[in-house]
Subunit: 484 residues, 2 copies
């Protein structure tokens, strides 16, 4: 091949036997994913052939790294009728406790977790590994003083760290529920916790219900559902109703995960019958990368990573080479086998559906009532219709004002509770105005305390609640000991 | 199954022959994707067997809906040495023009496009379909007056609407480049345009270089590379250097697309040899959904969709049922077969790499020089190394201050040009402070004009430049006619 202007033959690359002007790009990141798939497949086949169990319990469950032995199990054999028409004939709640319940049972504090956390909020004799809120809980000077309080933390219903969720056996056939699991609301999660608190511990009134992110949704829901059963509520980086932007980001995560062929519409648990199945680790990795984008803040990344690449002399590729990319890749990879994909999908949707509006409350109450009356074989549950959705609805049908009034009415019961709301300016997922909104909708009631962290106090975005013992920790600590 | 408390047998659902407590969830959204795959496979097989072409040109190219016949082709047979070490032995640029070039060739205006647009900015006799900036260009009262200006718009190098890109044949074997295509910089794109302007049209000085988003990166790069060859530059919703947050969002889109098994590391073009190949339409749909989240704003979605669902009486599912979800789903679906996946990947990375810093400029110049000296068969190009990256670099090694100074030095040539910078407060992808930064780094030079749209002027976020003829349009129009 000759060119004008004195140029002669190019040094040619070959790709699959063909010549090419440039070298074909390499994909070490995809090679790695393929290796993970291969090793999971091998492991799954080995587990299935060893036949050490009946094949009903997912054989690859142990890969969810955080499943630990240090929790207790509360088993409820009464059915739980759910806000969206489903039912759990029975369920388990995994929980851990720290400190001592006093004789009057007046010092109990319930910690609600975010989406992916276990009941292991703090280390203990039974499980000495550090918990997800290790620095916030403990004897003495910590945010939550275990010398004073009896602290309970549960794995949420729908989770995969001991509580009943999509990876648990359906009591009807002993196989994992998978996507036969019913859709949950945050209120359903809270009702299950309430059974633990009231039926198991006999605690009629919690001293405090404390949560951040999805946990902060739960603490508010606890106060809405059982305003007489809790004295103080702490809600950090949460909201009274999800915002369409947050729904959009979680929608993207779910769709990405569901597009992983290994997800198999939720039936990815390997068994003696299906030793070839492996969990959708690629979809989980990608979903977690997207989630990570929403958990931190731009200014933090600017100061940590900027736009630096691993090596400026290298030709950039489509696999990670910016520092920020390697960070996201690492975060996704860590999480990809740590958490059950179906639990992630269900709880992600549960967060989207969170809405303390009055109309939502009433609709749920009606549905649960209807459903429990069906619970006798006469009628079907109102679940998962086959009918296509009407395509006509394109825009909202209520005004902003109507929906605000509806939310305000739904928050009415919270006026009977002492509330601490914490917002973080650098949080893009649950922006500070959502926390301010709660305070405003409660008419700035005197029992409501509001703390807002500005950018000089935290650049950690939504993750601030996991990291900041100074402003978040001290605010909560002060609020809890006030008048105690 | 009998229960305590008078409950009798549950009405049972069955799933694949097994009983279950709740009905299995339905997935109409996944059914649909499978149907699309099946119909693409059928079409691809049919096209390949009809053997109407040599099999070198992708047989499913016609599915990229926007490829139109109304453009001209500029063919450059001189090699283009690229900033990151690759080479294009020859290349084509698709372009369209409106208005007349005057005798002095002093009224030419080059419009640079965003990532996914074609050269079809406005309708014409050759192609009467509305263009992507239809309302901004035309005779009379439009932003860009075609009675006055000779308007040129190109499809960018790397694109798929007529210009040479990854779906174009590699001259060495006539098969699509795919991921043998070399990595591009925004400056490479601009150099190709400069050849069209100078070599083809003989225009020594553009009256204006105008662009938004990735187009606004190009217009700034045009002024950096050829400050004497352009009088006025308009850059809307762009930046002088990408931000790690934007890189993170684009990284997520790319990884999601690359995880689609149909992507096949870029070699998804069907041919007589490989009639089974189909484009990664699922990955493209998902990537576009994520991108859409970054193109609009939360307040717009709140007022359009709120948190309303298609039907509150239905049990929520993991397929779209919130209005915001159906919107994202629709946007993704529309785009999924309209644009070449490899073009999307390369140009997305090109945006990440955009950096007008002095050090970046110098490194690129050195690399192009080295590379062109290799162009004789003696040495290999410095491309796509197999060496694993060193894992040691975790944090940035330059300070914020150093990198700011570097950027300031890189912007120096722009002081010789009259500049209009437009920022939009509701834009989350190219936040307004990135546009303010350009102005600040130019020391508020008197030739720099800055316009910022607040939330009451536009809630359309990053997409504002496509929609707002009022504030964006009038600002550009006024700037262009000033002193003309």
């Amino acid at each position: 091949m000759f060119k004008k202007g004195g140029f002669v033959l190019l040094r040619r690359w070959t790709h699959e036997g063909a010549k090419s002007a440039n070298r074909a790009m390499q994909f070490p990141c995809l090679d790695k994913l393929e290796q993970v798939s291969a090793s999971l497949r091998e492991k799954s086949a080995k587990n299935s052939s060893s036949a050490s169990h009946a094949g009903n319990i997912p054989s690859n469950e142990p890969v969810y790294g955080k499943v630990q032995s240090g929790f207790e199990l509360f088993k409820s054999s009464q059915p739980l009728f759910l806000d969206y028409g489903g039912v759990l004939p029975s369920f388990n709640i995994a929980y851990e406790t720290w400190g001592e319940l006093n004789a009057e049972k007046s010092n109990a504090l319930l910690i609600h977790t975010g989406l992916s956390a276990s009941s292991h909020a703090r280390s203990s004799d039974r499980n000495p590994q550090p918990g997800w809120w290790e620095n916030f809980i403990g004897p003495g000077n910590k945010t939550i003083d275990t010398d004073r309080f009896f602290v309970i933390c549960t794995n949420v219903l729908g989770g995969c760290y001991g509580s009943t969720g999509p990876s648990s056996p359906d009591p009807d056939d002993g196989k994992p529920y998978a996507t036969r699991f019913p859709m949950l609301s945050v209120q359903d999660i809270v009702r299950a916790q309430h059974r633990l608190v009231k039926d198991h511990f006999g605690i009629t009134k919690l001293y405090a219900s404390v949560g951040s992110s999805m946990g902060g949704m739960q603490s508010l829901a606890y106060a809405q559902l059982f305003p007489g059963d809790v004295e103080k509520v702490v809600s950090v980086s949460a909201c009274a109703r999800s915002h369409p932007s947050s729904i959009a980001m979680r929608h993207a995560q779910r769709q990405v995960l569901m597009a992983d062929p290994n997800w198999s519409r939720g039936f990815y648990y390997s068994s003696a019958e299906h030793p070839e199945k492996i969990p959708p680790h690629i979809g989980m990795k990608l979903a977690r990368e997207i989630a990570t984008v929403t958990y931190r803040s731009g200014p933090e990344w600017e100061s940590r990573f900027g736009t630096e690449r691993l090596d400026d002399e290298r030709t950039p590729t489509l696999c990670p080479d910016f520092l920020i990319e390697t960070y996201l890749d690492h975060q996704g990879e860590k999480f990809s086998l740590e958490y059950d994909a179906n639990s992630f999908l269900y709880l992600s949707k549960t967060m989207d559906l969170f809405d303390l509006s009055r109309s939502h409350f009433e609709r749920s109450a009606r549905r649960r009532k209807e459903n429990s009356s069906f619970y006798g074989g006469q009628e079907v549950q109102k679940q998962y219709s086959d009918e296509p959705y009407p395509a006509s609805k394109r825009r909202r049908t209520t005004t902003l004002d109507q929906s605000r009034k509806d939310l305000k009415a739904g928050l009415e019961p919270l006026k009977n509770v002492r509330l601490l709301i914490v917002g973080v300016k650098s949080d893009g997922l649950f922006p500070y105005w959502q926390q301010r909104e709660i305070v405003e909708l409660l008419d700035q009631a005197p029992a409501v305390k509001y703390v807002e962290l500005n950018e000089s106090q935290s650049l950690y975005g939504h993750d601030t609640f996991l990291l900041d013992t100074q402003y978040v920790g001290k605010s909560i600590g002060g609020f809890l000991t006030e008048g105690y």
